[in-house]
Symmetry: C2
Subunit: 453 residues, 2 copies
């Protein structure tokens, strides 16, 4: 008779109030916890916004379920994620464990079991997005990804819904708050990278292992996602050229200031002839631009559309409560679908996964900032200038501070607008010179931002 009892139990569990949508949270770190807390503290607002549908957390999976929390408020706390992903009393799974291997199984299993999914996991979507969106489409279930880029700043919605009728020309901006915090600390206090990184760690903006942030990999995953929704093709994140901020020095900021500019790590994707240019690299940016004004751990994303012009969205790009709000924006939208008995797979699923974009070099000539670190000797400028002239590039200025250490002297050359492929040939030649103490630091000088707005 066990079978019948089980069936009754199962039926009871799946019989939810039509006005109630049930959420299971897998992973109970910063984002998972914030999601549950906002859901509980803003229940009244949420009920108004969903037109009376109440959203309840029924299950939480965390590594070490604490006995005291078991069953609190009717929430079942488990340690095996399958007990959420396959549960009958869960309609929407919030994947908040991070990483790309277990998370992939979590999302896959949840979809297979008819659950809608919401995730803040940019690495997962950048790496396995094609596969997961295809599965979601097959199951006619949505995957919400608003929280994967720029925390609570609704950049995914802006591109995929608000500008749905437009042809996007480019998406670019500051998408990693940790790097921006480090760069603005270096700018404001004249400190070196290592010191600013320590401060970011002390302030809670950087992990102990900060490599994903400072080497630009987090920004790379985010621009892969943005490019995907802006241009309608999947992007192999691993193909995107990435330069992080590890090699930026206080001297670079000194030279940047002489050029009335500052340095920001920018992820960008822009239509080019035959494809899309995508890159992550530090830009030299005029100090009075909107992009330069994005200070501290904030994100600033520019979206340029053919009809709409250029927009900027600015705000906190990380943190539990901002990210939790973004997760919940997707949860609410999906809950309304579920309440009317009809889910839709994400729009992203309809995009062309078969023809991934291969990032192209920057399509237009721009000005360049080259910082050289050399062991000083006669003839350096002559030989460098000759290598530049050989590529047909005009030098705009040479800046060298007096009284620098001879054995590690930094100076800067700025170039008139030149194609990226051309300037890279010159840089390769310069890097071979025996007096070079480090590879050239090459930054595009882009007076972006509000000029286009």
């Amino acid at each position: 008779m066990r079978g019948i009892e089980d069936a009754i139990e199962k039926q009871k569990a799946s019989r939810r109030n039509a006005e109630q949508v049930r959420v299971g949270i897998i992973g109970y770190g910063t984002v998972g916890r914030a999601t549950a807390e906002i859901l509980s503290s803003h229940a009244e607002e949420i009920s108004v916004k969903t037109g009376g549908v109440s959203i309840v957390v029924t299950r939480i999976c965390r590594q070490k379920p604490r006995a005291t929390e078991l069953g609190v408020n009717g929430i079942t706390v488990v340690s095996d994620w399958r007990q959420v992903a396959t549960a009958d009393d869960v309609d929407i799974v919030v994947e908040a464990i991070g990483g790309t291997s277990v998370a992939r199984d979590v999302v896959g299993t949840s979809l297979e079991n008819g659950k809608a999914v919401v995730t803040a996991n940019k690495a997962l979507i950048a790496l396995h997005g094609d596969e997961l969106f295809a599965l979601a489409q097959e199951k006619n279930l949505p995957i919400g990804i608003e929280a994967t880029v720029a925390g609570g700043v609704p950049v995914i919605r802006a591109i995929s819904e608000a500008l749905a009728a437009d042809r996007i020309q480019s998406v670019y901006g500051i998408v990693n708050g940790t790097c921006n915090y480090i760069l603005t600390q270096m700018e404001e206090h004249g400190i070196e990278f290592a010191h600013a990184l320590e401060q970011a760690q002390a302030a809670g903006y950087a992990e102990a292992d900060s490599s994903l942030d400072i080497d630009g990999l987090d920004a790379r995953d985010k621009i892969a996602i943005l490019a995907r929704i802006a241009f309608g093709h999947s992007v192999l994140a691993s193909e995107i050229p990435v330069t992080g901020i590890r090699n930026i020095t206080s001297t670079d900021f000194h030279y940047a200031h002489r050029l009335n500019s500052t340095i920001r790590l920018v992820a960008s994707a822009e239509r080019a002839d035959g494809g899309v240019h995508i890159a992550v690299q530090p830009w030299l940016e005029p100090r009075d631009s909107m992009l330069a004004k994005a200070a501290g751990a904030n994100n600033a994303i520019f979206i340029a559309g053919e009809s709409v012009g250029t927009q900027m969205l600015y705000g906190r790009g990380a943190g539990g409560s901002a990210t939790g709000t973004a997760v919940l924006s997707d949860v609410l939208q999906i809950a309304r679908q579920i309440a009317r008995g009809q889910t839709e797979s994400s729009l992203l699923a309809g995009f062309d996964c078969a023809a991934p974009l291969h990032p192209l070099p920057r399509p237009n000539p721009v000005s360049w900032f080259l910082r050289l670190t050399v062991n000083d000797q006669p003839g350096i400028l002559a030989r460098t200038a000759e290598a530049i002239a050989r590529e047909g590039i005009n030098i705009d200025s040479v800046i060298q501070e007096p009284n620098m250490a001879k054995d590690r002297l930094s100076f800067v050359i700025t170039l008139e607008p030149t194609l990226e492929t051309t300037v890279q040939r010159a840089v390769e030649a310069i890097n071979l010179f025996e007096f070079m103490k480090a590879p050239v630091l090459l930054l595009p000088m882009i007076s972006s931002a509000e000029e286009h707005v």
Copy 2:
């Protein structure tokens, strides 16, 4: 047999392709035309974003249908809006005639006839929103209003969807591009208001009758709409206190610069004890703030949420193509609903129309900038300072340029943080002085923006 033929005709007309959603445009000025043009030029993008649903314009109502355009591309051009609002071959009506009387009938009749509605008409929604949303709810039909505020900048979506799980604390910013263009011209070129207005008219940013813009009424309607969706109650726009920019002089900018600030017309709504503070007035704003950096005809809207922090959305606030893109963002969203055979009334319809918000004074003490224009005589500063002291207010600074005309001398007093109601009592007393040539220009000094981000 006429009856049967009619029925067949009617059935044929209403038998649309399941994958096709039909749009009727009423009013073919800047916005109506741009909507039709973007729909046609971006058909491929739109089809991808709607998952294969094609959106076609079937009817256009314009005052003087031109013979040459009749029937072009299968579009029926009519001069009576009822032939669109009641047509069987229209699913979504785009109301683009402007004004509040005919437009109200257009939206009402369209809803009565089972059509979804999209409008860019802020005056209509501010004045008749309650009635129209109630009708939409009754008919279970959506009204799309993204285009009513800030053109293509998706501020309505940001508040109603992206931040749906958050409790909004305040919404404020630059929502009238014409005023911002005039103020930035005055700031940059040191010119007077009348001259800057002429330039705005020449540049196509201001109408011949520019009063709706420069007297702040357009901004008032927009903040009424934003407050409504942010706080969930209807707002009587006519109750919102409004100060336009007509009385701002080049001397005011001169004094603002001495305070390292500039002047921007700001519409704001902020939670206050027992309600919401709502106002439209020029602010004295630090020059390096994000708000001050919003130059030219752009809009910049800040949204502060309890969980998400403060976000800024920035971009073109007007113009046919930006507004048309916003109109189409709603059309696309509604088209997807129609294609799956299920429309929803707008979320806005669920809000509490019975308890309108009555705007309250600014809830927190802020610093103030008072510009006095006087017929110079001994004792002015003493009597003014006395009127201020009587209210218990501390003066922060007095600034007076030398060599001004005696009979129309302007000087500025700045005050330490004071409640609005208190400072207004002092201003009322000062305005009674016989030496005053014009009422005090009173501007809040708010170092808004990125400090809160």
